[in-house]
C-alpha cells in the first residue's frame, strides 16, 4: 500500500493507483473533475487536462516537486507524495484556464442541447470556469451528422475526450470510428457517416461527457430534468439488461445504462461493465418491456435542478474563499426536493 496526501487529507491506496483514483476514494471536492478519463475504458485519460493537480512533493524518496501540473488521471501515486488540488490557488487558476480554453470553440447552445442538465461540461464550467468569455472570434463550426438512424453527432460540442473512440475500439467489434484532421479542425469521424453498425454502438452516447453524441430517439422529446429516472431490467440475450429508464408518466422517453457518481457506466456483480445493447437502448420504449426496480439514485451530474445550481454557486463562493487557504469540504445542503426530478412544479 502507498500512503500520500491530497489537499492535506491522508489516503492509502494500492501501488499503481492513479492520483485521480485515490482522490475519488476520498471523494467530495478534492476529487479533480475528469472529462476524458473513464475507468472502464483502457488507455483513456490524459487529453482534456481538467484533472490537473499540483504535486508539491514527488515522493518520500525524492521530495522534489513536479515542476509542471500533472494529469491526475494518468499519474501514479508514490509513497509520501503530497498532492494539491483545491488547496492550491495556482492549480485552480490553471484549471480555470483549461476550462476557458475548452469553451472557446464550444457553441454554448445549451438551450437547444439534449445533454443540458446532465452535461459534465456545464458542471465543469459552472464550478471552475470564469463568468465571462474573453473569446471574441467566430467559433469553429461543423454540420451535425447522423450516425445511422439512432445517434446524432454534433461535432461543435465535442471536447475531443476520445471516449467514444475507445468505446468503438474496445466495446464494439470492427472499428470504423476515429479522428480525422488535426488541431482545432480535428473531428470525430465514422469513416464517414457509416453507421457504427454494431449491437453496442449506442454506448458512445453514454460515455460522451457533452452533447456531442446524443440519442436520436430522444431528440427534443423533453429536458432531462422533466423526466423521472427509474432503474429497470429485462432478460436480454445480448447484454446485462440492467438499465435506467427516463420516463414521463408511463412513457419511456429514453433508455440509458446506469451510471455511478462519477458519471461512468456501473459495474455488474461479476465486475464487468454494465454496457447495454442497442435493442435495450433504442427499441424497448414501452414500460411493459421492463421490470421496474424503483427510482434511480441521482447524483449531481445527472440532473441539475434550479436548487442545485444555487448550491453550486455556494461551492464556488467557498472555493474563492478557500483561496485564502482554508480547505473546504462542508456538506452541501441541496434543499428539500432538490433531487426530485419533478420538482419543476414546486418552483
Amino acid at each position: 500500500m502507498v500512503k500520500l496526501t491530497i489537499d492535506d487529507i491522508p489516503v492509502e491506496v494500492p501501488k499503481g493507483t492513479t492520483i485521480l483514483q485515490a482522490a475519488r476514494l476520498i471523494g467530495g471536492d478534492v476529487t479533480p473533475p475528469a472529462m476524458c478519463y473513464y475507468s472502464k475504458l483502457k488507455t483513456s485519460g490524459g487529453y482534456c487536462r481538467t484533472c490537473i493537480v499540483k504535486v508539491e512533493q514527488g515522493s518520500e524518496k525524492d521530495p522534489r516537486p513536479i515542476p509542471k501540473p500533472v494529469a491526475s488521471c494518468r499519474t501514479e501515486v508514490a509513497e509520501g507524495m503530497v498532492v494539491r488540488n483545491i488547496t492550491s490557488p495556482e492549480n485552480l487558476e490553471a484549471r480555470a484556464g483549461v476550462v476557458e480554453l475548452l469553451l472557446v470553440n464550444h457553441p454554448l447552445d445549451c438551450p437547444v442541447c439534449d445533454q443540458a442538465g446532465e452535461c459534465h461540461l456545464q458542471d465543469l464550467a459552472y464550478e471552475n470556469g470564469k463568468e465571462e468569455t474573453r473569446y471574441e472570434f467566430e467559433r469553429r463550426e461543423f454540420e451535425p451528422i447522423d450516425i445511422g438512424d439512432k445517434i446524432k453527432l454534433h461535432m461543435n460540442r465535442c471536447i475531443m475526450c476520445f471516449r467514444c473512440v475507445k468505446v468503438a475500439d474496445q466495446i464494439t467489434d470492427g472499428r470504423c470510428h476515429g479522428v480525422i484532421n488535426r488541431g482545432d479542425a480535428a473531428e470525430i469521424s465514422t469513416y464517414i457517416e457509416k453507421a457504427i453498425d454494431n449491437d453496442f454502438s449506442g454506448n458512445v452516447i453514454d460515455v460522451c461527457p457533452v452533447g456531442a453524441l446524443t440519442d436520436r430517439t430522444f431528440r427534443f422529446k423533453s429536458r432531462v430534468w422533466y423526466t423521472k429516472p427509474v432503474d429497470a431490467h429485462r432478460d436480454c440475450s445480448k447484454c446485462c439488461g440492467k438499465v435506467r429508464l427516463w420516463n414521463q408518466g408511463e412513457e419511456v422517453l429514453r433508455v440509458t445504462a446506469r451510471k455511478d457518481q462519477w458519471g461512468e457506466v456501473m459495474d455488474n456483480e461479476d465486475g464487468s461493465t454494465a454496457w447495454i445493447c442497442n435493442d435495450c437502448r433504442f427499441d424497448k420504449k414501452h414500460i411493459k418491456d421492463w421490470t421496474v426496480e424503483g427510482p434511480s439514485e441521482i447524483n449531481r451530474h445527472s440532473v441539475i435542478s434550479a436548487n442545485h445550481y444555487d448550491t453550486l454557486r455556494n461551492i464556488k463562493a467557498d472555493t474563492l474563499r478557500m483561496l485564502g487557504g482554508k480547505p473546504h469540504g462542508e456538506k452541501v445542503d441541496l434543499g428539500i426536493g432538490a433531487l426530485d426530478p419533478n420538482n419543476q412544479h414546486k418552483q
Binding site: G45, G46, Y47, C48, R49, T50, I52, P67, K68, P69, A71, R74, A94, G97, V98, E100, L101, L102, V104, N105, R134, Y135, F137, I159, M160, F162, G178, V179, N181, R182, G183, D184, A185, A186
Partner: protein, 445 residues
C-alpha cells in the same frame, strides 16, 4: 578555421557515393567498433564524449542509451528522427543530402551498441528526394556487406529502413513519430511509458536526431575523451547551425561549441554580417520555438558576458534574458523586421501543426493566432496584448507534448522583449505602415 567533424569532407566532390566516402576514411569507425569494441565499451565512449541530443532538447545521449530496457527475447530498435520541421532548421537535410553514409555508419555503430537489428530513418514528407538519396546509399551499403546479415564478417546483422512521413511537424515529436512509423495517426503518446521501455511496436526504442547519430562516427574515431575536449563545458563537440534570415551568407555551418555569437553572425567564415549593412534587431537562436532575443541580449548575457554558441551560454538568464540552443535553427532579423508579424507567422504555424489531442494546445494556439491577426489588422487593443500573455501561460506546461510550449514560448518572449512594438500596433497602427512586409499576411486558415 574552427574544427570540423561532420562536414570535414563536405567539400569533396562525390562524397555522397560510397566509394568516395570510403576513400576518405569512411566506415573505418564502424569497422573499429564492430571488430574491436563491445557494445558496452561503445556506450562508455558515448557517455564520456558528453554528446547531447541535437534534436532540440539537448538530453545526454549516453544517458538516454543507458535507459534502454533489455528484456530477453524482445527486439530493440533505433529510430533516427529525420522529420526536421521546426521552422528555421535545415541542417539534417544538408547532412543527409551531402553525406548520407555518415548517417548510415553512425546508425550501424549505434545499433550495434544498443543491440538493435533493425533501425529506421523517419524522413519528413517534404524531404522525399532526400529519402531517395538515403535509399541509394543504403543499397550501396548492402551491396558492399556494410549492412544486412553478418556485417563485415562480424556476425552482426542490421537492416535499415527508410520511412517517409506525410508532412506533419508533430511527427517529429518522438512518440508521435513512433505512432506514425507504426502506420497510425501521428499523435504524441501519453508518457510514461517512455520509448526506452515501450517504444516502436511496444519494444524498447531509442529515438535520436540525425546529427546526434552522425556525431557517433567522429566520437568512435577519436574516442569519447578526445571529443569531450572539443567545445566548452558541458557543450562538447561541434554543432550544425542552420543560419537564415537577413544575413549575407545563409546556410548550414559546423561550429565548435563555444564560438561567440557575435563572431558567428559577423565573421566572413560564417554568416558574414547583416544584409545591406543594416543593423540587427533580434535573433531566434534555436528554431522557431525558442525565445527570441533582442540584439543586446543575444550578443551579451544580462551580466555583460559575451554570449557563446553553447547550451549553457545561450540558456544563461533563463527565459527572462536568455534562450536555448534548441535545434540550431539560427534566424537573424534586421532592424526593419516587424516582430509582431514574425510572431504571427510562428503562431500560425503552431496552430496549424497542433495535433488536437489536448485542450490547451488545440484551442489556445488558434486563439493566439487570431488575436495576432487582429492586432496586425490594426484592430487590436492593449488588453489583447495582456490576453495573449495570459493564454500562452495557460498553455505552457499543461499539455501532453512540448508542442504546447513551442507555441507558448515565442509569444511570451516577443511580448517580454518587444512589448512597445505591440503597443505601437494597437495604439497607433498608422505609425507602422512603412515597416517592410517580410511576411505576407494570410487570412486565418
Amino acid at each position: 578555421m574552427s574544427r570540423k567533424l561532420l562536414l570535414k569532407n563536405d567539400h569533396i566532390p562525390g562524397i555522397a557515393a560510397l566509394k568516395t566516402y570510403k576513400e576518405n576514411g569512411g566506415y573505418t569507425a564502424m569497422e573499429k567498433a564492430l571488430k574491436t569494441m563491445s557494445p558496452e565499451a561503445l556506450l562508455e565512449e558515448v557517455k564520456t564524449s558528453g554528446l547531447r541530443g541535437r534534436g532540440g532538447a539537448g538530453f545526454p545521449t549516453g544517458m538516454k542509451w543507458s535507459f534502454l530496457a533489455k528484456p530477453e527475447g524482445v527486439p530493440r530498435y533505433l529510430v533516427v528522427n529525420a522529420d526536421e520541421s521546426e521552422p528555421g532548421t535545415f541542417k539534417d537535410r544538408y547532412l543527409m543530402e551531402r553525406i548520407p553514409h555518415l548517417l548510415i555508419e553512425g546508425m550501424v555503430i549505434s545499433s550495434f551498441s544498443l543491440g538493435a537489428n533493425s533501425a529506421y530513418i523517419y524522413v519528413r514528407g517534404e524531404y522525399f528526394y532526400v529519402s531517395r538519396i538515403l535509399e541509394q546509399a543504403i543499397e550501396e551499403a548492402y551491396a558492399s556487406g556494410l549492412l544486412g546479415k553478418n556485417i563485415l564478417g562480424t556476425g552482426y546483422d542490421l537492416d535499415i529502413y527508410v520511412q517517409i512521413g506525410a508532412g506533419a511537424y508533430i511527427c517529429g515529436e518522438e512518440t508521435a513519430l513512433l505512432e506514425s512509423l507504426e502506420g497510425k495517426r501521428g499523435n504524441p503518446r501519453i508518457k510514461p511509458p517512455f520509448p526506452a521501455i515501450a517504444g516502436l511496436y511496444g519494444c524498447p526504442t531509442v529515438v535520436n536526431n540525425v546529427e546526434t547519430i552522425a556525431a557517433i562516427v567522429p566520437i568512435i574515431e577519436m574516442g569519447g575523451a578526445e571529443y569531450a575536449k572539443i567545445g566548452i563545458g558541458r557543450s562538447t563537440g561541434t554543432k550544425l547551425i542552420s543560419a537564415s534570415g537577413h544575413i549575407n551568407k545563409p546556410g548550414v555551418y559546423e561550429i565548435e561549441m563555444g564560438l561567440p555569437v557575435e563572431e558567428f553572425i559577423y565573421s566572413e567564415e560564417y554568416c558574414g554580417g547583416i544584409k545591406g549593412g543594416r543593423k540587427m534587431k533580434a535573433v531566434v537562436a534555436g528554431g522557431s520555438s525558442v525565445p527570441i532575443l533582442p540584439t543586446e541580449l543575444i550578443l551579451k548575457t544580462a551580466a555583460g558576458e559575451p554570449r557563446l554558441m553553447s547550451y549553457e551560454s545561450l540558456g544563461d538568464g533563463g527565459f527572462i534574458t536568455g534562450t536555448m540552443l534548441g535545434s540550431g535553427g539560427f534566424i537573424v532579423m534586421d532592424e526593419d523586421t516587424s516582430i509582431v508579424k514574425n510572431l504571427y507567422t510562428f503562431s500560425r504555424f503552431y496552430h496549424h501543426e497542433s495535433c488536437g489531442q489536448c485542450s490547451p494546445c488545440r484551442e489556445g494556439t488558434g486563439w493566439m493566432e487570431k488575436i495576432l491577426h487582429k492586432i496586425l489588422e490594426g484592430k487590436g487593443t492593449l488588453k489583447d496584448i495582456d490576453l495573449l500573455w495570459d493564454i500562452q501561460s495557460k498553455i505552457e506546461g499543461k499539455t501532453i507534448c512540448p508542442l504546447g510550449e513551442a507555441a507558448a514560448w515565442p509569444v511570451a518572449a516577443a511580448i517580454r522583449h518587444f512589448r512597445p512594438e505591440f503597443e505601437a500596433y494597437v495604439t497607433n497602427p498608422e505609425s507602422i505602415k512603412d515597416v517592410k512586409h517580410y511576411y505576407r499576411l494570410n487570412p486565418t486558415v
